[in-house]
Amino acid sequence: MSDVLLQVENVGIRFGGLQALEGLNLTVRDKELCCIIGPNGAGKSTFLNVLTGTLRPTSGSVRFLGDDIAGLPLHRIARLGIARKFQIPSVFPSLSVEDNLKVARWGAPSPARPVGELLELVALSNRAATLAGELAHGQKQWLEIGMALAIEPRLLLLDEPTAGMTPQETLATAEMLLRLKGEFSIVAVEHDIRFVRALNCETLVLHQGRRLRSGPFHDIETDEMVRDVYLGRR
């Protein structure tokens, strides 16, 4: 059990009268890649907010390397080694691409990758001096992944990393993640099934705040129940 990075046990969260999540369990081992999928409103983003400690679960626990992280300030969570890519591209528009990455590195306890290497990883070497606000949508998404990498995470949480991307960009992003797999753990929340298929990893399917299925992606993909949910039959 020593290689367990993130341990989510029986997590539930209630907003007033709405039970947004209920009885969720998730174990992420070191250097493991896993996906969380589900239709709109399934609670994917809420679950990710719980994983990053932004939302405190009303029941259950979230442990990172054995410590409860619920309710810790954001910057403390980042310094534990949990990086997050937000759903809406959240880069710093009035800073250059290079400065965006620098700010990310400065936040890390021990940044290792130099800015030049990060620029190469996210294919933005020729845009280093461009203001981040002027980048194309897909490039902003990549820059944000680059910023998440800059803090040398143990765990990278991606909230819909391919939202708004073209199919080519989506596949390029999947390739980028597969290259990074093995350096740290990655949890990606997605509803683009092509992207998850390209990653082909352990997958948790959420539906109405509960676990519907979990297992390797090819099992999930052939599951009749999952298909029904995605097609809106249930």
Partner: protein, 328 residues
């Protein structure tokens, strides 16, 4: 070095040269006018250091100017305290910083930002002015405290006496130059870049491991400390301290100086302070009630039309011309 930094240093050098040459042409009275304007310029730079980099407007910055002034006055007017001038300056800086730290702690760590911060600091300024009026046994009430001695101290064997016009002008100009240069080098480096990032998206900056509230607090405290220094210098030069020095009017004026001079430039606010005070004297000589009216109008116009200050006209024209050339 980037072109922007080079331009800034160039303008700074020109201003410094003008400040050095000015005593050759000016008489004693003109020197004291510029000297006092420079002190207010330092005050404006202190506000700009916070407002310009964080985007959060403090509408009660005169509170720190006033606190610095009163502490300086109380220490130097007390004959029992030795080295009054030096201790007074240190006390003024520390006092303003201390108050800013307490208020800022609750605001920044309580998640108060944007216009809410502005409103709370507005109230803080009013409270300070009221305290200065009401606590008359210490502050002298409405009439304030008079007879504050000029700054004098011994520095490495030489006795520095700032009761004369020229020495006091040189002293103030040197302090303004050093402080503005120091603030500039802080705000263009790592500290300033992270502040810009926090201004853009605080949650994102925090998710990258930056302690945003702490960084904002430290910036606010430094800004208040320099406002306190400016207040301390001013009361020694003017010889008196009054509740107006922490009042709403001064808080508004300093915002106008910064807005006119160009927020985020540090040097612009100093020039803005000098030019607007010059305009104030000229206009008030026609009709004293005209000035507040004009000040208000200028404030509204700047906020709506030129949010980046008068200096931004040049940059805007340039980008306009560039755009037209590209269109052709």
């Amino acid at each position: 070095m980037i072109a922007r930094d080079r331009n800034w240093l160039l303008i700074f050098a020109v201003c410094a040269a003008l400040a050095v040459l000015y005593p050759l042409f000016a008489d004693g009275y003109q020197l004291t006018v510029i000297r006092d304007a420079l002190i207010f310029g330092l005050f404006a730079a202190s506000l700009d250091f916070f407002w310009g980099r964080t985007g959060i407007l403090c509408f009660g910055h005169a509170a720190f100017f006033g606190i610095g002034g009163y502490i300086m006055a109380l220490i130097t007017l007390n004959d029992a305290i030795p080295f009054g001038s030096l201790l007074g300056i240190m006390g003024a800086v520390a006092g303003a910083a201390f108050i800013a730290a307490i208020i800022g702690y609750f605001l920044f760590f309580g998640g108060i930002r944007g216009s809410y911060f502005t409103i709370v600091t507005l109230a803080m300024g009013v409270i300070c002015q009221q305290a200065a009026v009401s606590w008359s046994s210490v502050t002298g009430g409405d009439s304030g405290l008079i007879g504050i001695p000029p700054i004098e101290f011994d520095l490495g064997g030489t006795h520095v006496d700032l009761s004369q016009d020229l020495p006091s002008y040189i002293f103030v100009a040197a302090i303004v130059a050093v402080v503005v240069l120091a603030l500039w080098s802080i705000s263009r480096g790592r500290w300033g870049t992270v502040l810009t990032a926090i201004q853009d998206n605080e949650v994102r900056a925090a998710a990258l491991g930056h302690n945003a509230p702490l960084r904002l607090l430290v910036t606010f405290v430094v800004s208040a400390a320099i406002a306190g220094l400016a207040g301390a210098l001013y009361v020694c030069m003017a010889g008196l301290v009054a509740p107006d020095l922490s009042g709403l009017l001064l808080s508004t004026e300093v915002i106008v100086w910064v807005a006119v001079g160009g927020r985020g430039t540090l040097l612009g606010p100093v020039l803005g302070a000098i030019f607007i005070q010059r305009a104030q004297q000229t206009i008030s000589s026609f009709n004293p009630s005209l000035w507040p009216l004009l000040l208000g109008c200028v404030f509204v116009i700047i906020v709506f039309v030129l949010p980046d200050g008068i200096l931004s006209i040049y940059a805007r024209l340039k980008s306009l011309l560039k755009g037209r050339r590209r269109a052709q």
